[in-house]
């Protein structure tokens, strides 16, 4: 475990991470593992993260060393697409039993690798460590080494047992595994001045293929996508790329940075979500390649392609403009949150709303962003009534969010579109944006909503009417009782990561005379997790006159 813990420390020190650089030495040491709240945690574990990051490598066998829960409950749950082998979809696990727990599972693991190689002959086997074998001290590194030697095939240990941290940490540990054992171990047949890596793209719903034709046309070759639709050989050769793009999620920043460090491959952070972002990403790729020796005419061709494809995309969105004009979208996501998605939606005539935002000016966008950062966590635990209240207050016509909130949205009979990783539609690149607008139109125009919102003929009141009454009653109760309103306000959970409520923050501000977000964070730890709530904290600081006890504004605010 000592090598694992040093690995984790190493990942925490990631200098490529902007968030990390913003932290104090002490904070950095603590790492970015937000300690999940027992009883309040819904996210995945490090193993989950590692598996998600690597399983899109399509032709290798992904063997999970652990009890049945780890693989048995989770296999084949992702829509990464493959242009070739589908071995990644085959679930392999050692399914360890009681005897293994007592006597150790290493033998079973070794035999499992042997069987896989005999039966499936993959180019490599990835072995994932999980909590139980990690606890009983199974040394998967040693087993992998021995198996590799014996069978003459790469057997790669992925040391990321669930309990070391959240999904995000697992993504990075997976990156470490391929940095240590895979990347740079083979050589490509040939190289071109146009070879790039795309890092952190998993080809969900085949999205990579919405962008690849653009690169194909420019003559840019994806030497390796880590890890969407990748083959083992591609990953092993990826150190020969001339440049790399790291797709907006920071989950694999360590790969991008270390490949720059070790192999001199420059990278940039970009996104293929949204029309402008796609254009920017193409420009940056070309720019980096030219800097690495590709002919300068590449940029001209890139600009020509961008002009042509942007026009095509806007033309594709045009027919929806009239139908979508004035429709309001509540965008709640931790996933596809690029602001050029917002731009494209606005271009299609849609209006973006937050719970309290009327028009999306630049400032308002900040507020939505802040709101979204919060709600991305919050939405999963919302009751249908709360969801309904939120949607009603936002006067939204449709909600775009991650998959887990779909059932809450649907039970509240609200049109909903999945834009996180479980989605079935591909929304990347120019075509993807048109697809997104088309899907929104489809969801909004579906006559099913009108029907399902109708009351059952035997019902005196609808679900919504009861909810309205309850909301009104609640508001009335709060208006009538300033003390209750105060308690209500103070009980709002501001920082989800560190479980800090508003009352604690207000008290700290008053008691210690705090006047900056940093000071509040220092004192209460609020805002030291994902930092999504720092805007809210700033808002609390700014509005001190509204809530400070005895302030003239307070009673009025409470009533509202």
């Amino acid at each position: 475990m000592s090598s694992l813990s040093s690995k984790i420390q190493d990942v925490f020190n990631e200098p490529g991470c902007g968030k990390n650089q913003g932290k104090s030495e002490k904070e950095r040491k603590k790492g970015c593992t937000k300690q999940l709240q027992p009883g309040g945690a819904a996210g995945g574990c490090a193993f989950d993260g590692a598996k998600i990051a690597l399983q899109p490598i399509t032709d290798v066998a992904h063997l999970v060393h652990g009890p049945i829960a780890c693989e048995g409950n989770s296999w084949d749950n992702r829509g990464s697409k493959s242009s070739g082998s589908n071995l990644w979809r085959t679930g392999f696990t050692t399914d360890i039993n009681e005897t293994d727990v007592v006597f150790g599972g290493e033998k079973r693991l070794y035999k499992s690798v042997k069987e896989i190689i005999e039966k499936y002959d993959p180019p490599a086997v990835f072995v994932y460590q999980t909590c139980v074998p990690a606890m009983i001290g199974d040394d998967i590194d040693a087993v992998c080494k021995a198996a590799s030697k014996k069978f003459g095939k790469p057997v790669i240990p992925v040391n990321s047992p669930g309990f070391v941290g959240p999904k995000n940490l697992g993504n990075k540990l997976a990156g470490e595994a391929i940095l240590d054992h895979v990347i740079g171990t083979e050589e490509p047949e040939y190289t071109t001045p146009y070879d790039i890596n795309i890092i952190g793209e998993y080809n969900l719903s085949g999205e990579l293929w919405q962008v690849k034709p653009l690169l194909d046309e420019l003559g840019i070759r994806i030497l390796c996508c880590i890890s969407g639709d990748a083959k083992y050989h591609d990953v092993a050769c990826s150190h020969r790329a001339k440049a790399a793009m790291m797709v907006c999620s920071k989950s694999m920043i360590n790969i991008a940075r270390k490949m720059e460090e070790r192999y001199g491959i420059p990278f940039f952070e970009g996104s293929f979500y949204g029309i402008e972002d796609t254009s920017d990403a193409l420009r940056e790729i070309s720019q980096l390649l030219i800097e690495r020796g590709a002919p300068a005419e590449l940029m001209e061709r890139t600009e020509a392609l961008i002009a042509r494809e942007e026009a095509r995309a806007w033309a594709g969105i045009e027919p929806y403009k009239q139908r979508l004009a004035g429709k309001k979208v509540l965008l709640i996501t931790g996933g596809v949150k690029s602001w050029s998605v917002v731009a494209a939606l606005q271009e299609a005539g849609l209006e973006l709303v937050g719970t309290s935002v009327k028009k999306s000016t630049k400032e308002d966008k900040e507020r939505i962003k802040e709101l979204m950062g919060e709600d991305a966590h919050m939405i999963d635990d919302m009751s249908p009534r709360e969801m309904y209240k939120m949607l009603k207050e936002a006067k939204a016509d449709i909600m775009l969010s991650g998959g887990r909130s779909q059932f809450v949205a649907l039970k509240a009979k609200m049109p909903w579109l999945d834009i996180n990783q479980e989605r079935h539609h591909a929304y990347m690149g120019y075509v993807g944006m048109v697809e997104l607008v088309k899907e929104i139109d489809k969801a909004l125009s579906n006559p099913v909503w009108e029907q399902v919102r109708k009351r059952a003929p035997w019902e005196e009141t609808t679900w919504e009417e009861r909810a309205d009454a309850a909301i009104a009653a609640e508001a009335a109760a709060l208006a009538a009782d300033p003390e209750l309103a105060r308690a209500q306000r103070r009980s709002a959970r501001i920082c989800k990561c560190k479980a800090v409520d508003r009352g604690t923050i207000e008290d700290a501000i008053l008691e210690h005379g705090l006047d900056s977000v940093e000071a509040v964070t220092e004192r209460t730890h609020a805002g030291s997790g994902c930092t999504g709530c720092t805007g809210t904290i700033a808002g609390i600081l700014d509005s001190i006159e509204d809530w400070r006890p005895g302030s003239i504004n307070e009673p009025a605010k409470q009533a509202a």
Partner: protein, 457 residues
């Protein structure tokens, strides 16, 4: 909304339509102890019989007057007389249902007149009811034959009742159209009975062609509604008709007995069933049972879960007017678009269907119009078209000879609608195309300069 057009072709290719007489015969099969009889040549009967055997996978009682060439020319009185006597002696039915065919209608046989003569000549046959329906093959279609027959049954078999007669508060007449399957009838019976009401179903295929193993062999129909029950339908408190085709029958009932009617043009879909359940609650004065409340809630949930898969889908439907109306309305409600609609016969519903054009045509027309659709919906004869179009195929209607359980396909009620969502939704899911690296290829004319550059490298 829809423009109703007729196929301009001379030659029908891959027919969608089936003839009136067999629609008529099927209606007779919903009566107890009945023998349907075709006044026509043997072939007319045998084709109908085989079609029903293949569809229901049951023994089908159907007789023929076996008109020969000479008999056809001379007139069929003797054949009708002979057939009735033979059937009366052999199968001993309570009723013989006689449907004319193309041959005898072309000749112009006056069957009503024949029956008068036969009645006079054979008083020993007085205990057997004879109902005759004129159903020339060359006119109208299957559902028309059914509808005319049920109307005749009402006119001839229901006893007239004065308008102020005492009614049985529990009894409700149910007049189902030809598209209502035995499975549908079972579902409707359950719903009606859930309110403590007693349905009297005319005709009732749910007891006769619902695919069960009978207790003993009978040469006539088994199950179905008895003549006594039909005669007493005037004492019911209300008539529920399902399908526009049943309006004349429901009106005939009201005219003869004063029983008011409510017609449901379909019972698939949330709102249609809300109206149906509201009517039942009103008639019975009872609250809606929890079972039905749950079924409604399940349907709402199925609609929410299912709409993702139906939204924007283009559907091609070939069906008789009432079934076409039912399906097209329901598909629309789920967010799909009826891109092609072909039907068999006229109906006031056709122009109200939410699509550009409803064509009275054949499966060739449907196939042509179904190009680019996501689903083909018609009877089993559409399977080759679906194969050629390479789109999923949902079988519904008669005949359905290449699948089991045709009689039990249930699409009415909250429950039937829910299951239909699942069944068709799953077809969409199963046929979903996996993306490939070529799915989003750029248009050819864009040049691919770079690719060539790379290839040259």
């Amino acid at each position: 909304m829809a423009k109703v057009t007729h196929s301009q072709k001379s030659c029908t290719v891959n027919p969608l339509k089936m003839s009136q007489p067999i629609g008529s015969a099927l209606a007779f099969m919903g009566l107890k102890n009945c023998m349907p009889l075709f006044h026509g040549s043997q072939g007319c009967t045998s084709f109908g019989l085989v079609l029903f055997v293949r569809h229901f996978k049951e023994a089908i009682p159907l007789q023929t007057t076996a008109m020969s060439e000479v008999a056809t020319v001379l007139g069929g009185l003797e054949n009708v007389e002979q057939a009735i006597i033979t059937i009366a002696n052999r199968q001993k039915p309570a009723i013989i249902g006689i449907s004319s065919t193309g041959v005898t209608e072309t000749k112009g046989d006056d069957v009503d007149g024949y029956l008068k003569l036969i009645r006079e000549k054979h008083p020993e046959l007085d205990h057997i009811k004879l109902v005759y329906v004129s159903t020339p093959d060359f006119k109208d279609a299957f559902q028309d034959g059914w509808a005319k027959t049920v109307t005749r049954m009402v006119e001839q078999l229901v006893e007239p009742v004065p308008a102020d007669a005492a009614r049985d508060p529990a009894k409700v007449n149910l007049l189902p159209g030809a598209h209502v399957t035995p499975g549908d009838l079972d579902e409707l019976r359950d719903l009606i009975e859930a309110f403590g009401l007693e349905p009297v179903i005319l005709p009732d295929l749910s007891g006769s062609l619902d695919g069960h193993v009978p207790d003993d062999f009978t040469p006539t129909t088994i199950g179905g509604i008895s003549l006594e029950e039909i005669a007493g339908m005037g004492h019911s408190r209300h008539t529920i008709a399902v399908g526009e085709q049943m309006r004349p029958a429901a009106e005939a009932m009201e005219k003869k007995t004063g029983v008011p009617y409510t017609l449901f043009d379909r019972l698939t879909g949330l709102e249609a069933n809300d109206e149906f359940i509201t009517l039942l609650a009103g008639l019975s004065g009872r609250p809606v049972p929890n079972k039905i409340k749950r079924q409604r809630s399940q349907l709402v949930d199925a609609m929410l879960d299912g709409h993702f898969h139906f939204g924007g889908k283009r559907i091609a439907i070939g069906a008789e007017p009432d079934l076409l109306w039912t399906l097209s309305g329901w598909f629309r409600e789920m967010g799909a678009e009826v891109a092609a609609a072909v039907t068999t016969t006229q109906s006031p519903l056709l122009e109200r269907i939410a699509t550009d054009e409803v064509l009275l045509g054949d499966l060739e027309d449907l196939e042509k119009r179904a190009a680019g659709c996501d689903l083909l919906v018609t009877h089993s004869h559409g399977r080759q078209a679906a194969e050629r179009l390479a789109i999923p195929f949902y079988r519904i209607g008669i005949p359905m000879f290449d699948r089991l359980g045709a009689a039990h396909q249930t699409i009415v009620g909250y429950r039937g609608t829910r299951d239909l969502i699942f069944e068709i939704g799953n077809m969409f899911i199963a046929s979903g195309h996996e993306p490939t690296p070529e799915t989003w290829s750029l248009p050819e004319e864009t040049g691919h300069v770079g690719e060539k550059a790379l290839a040259a490298h």
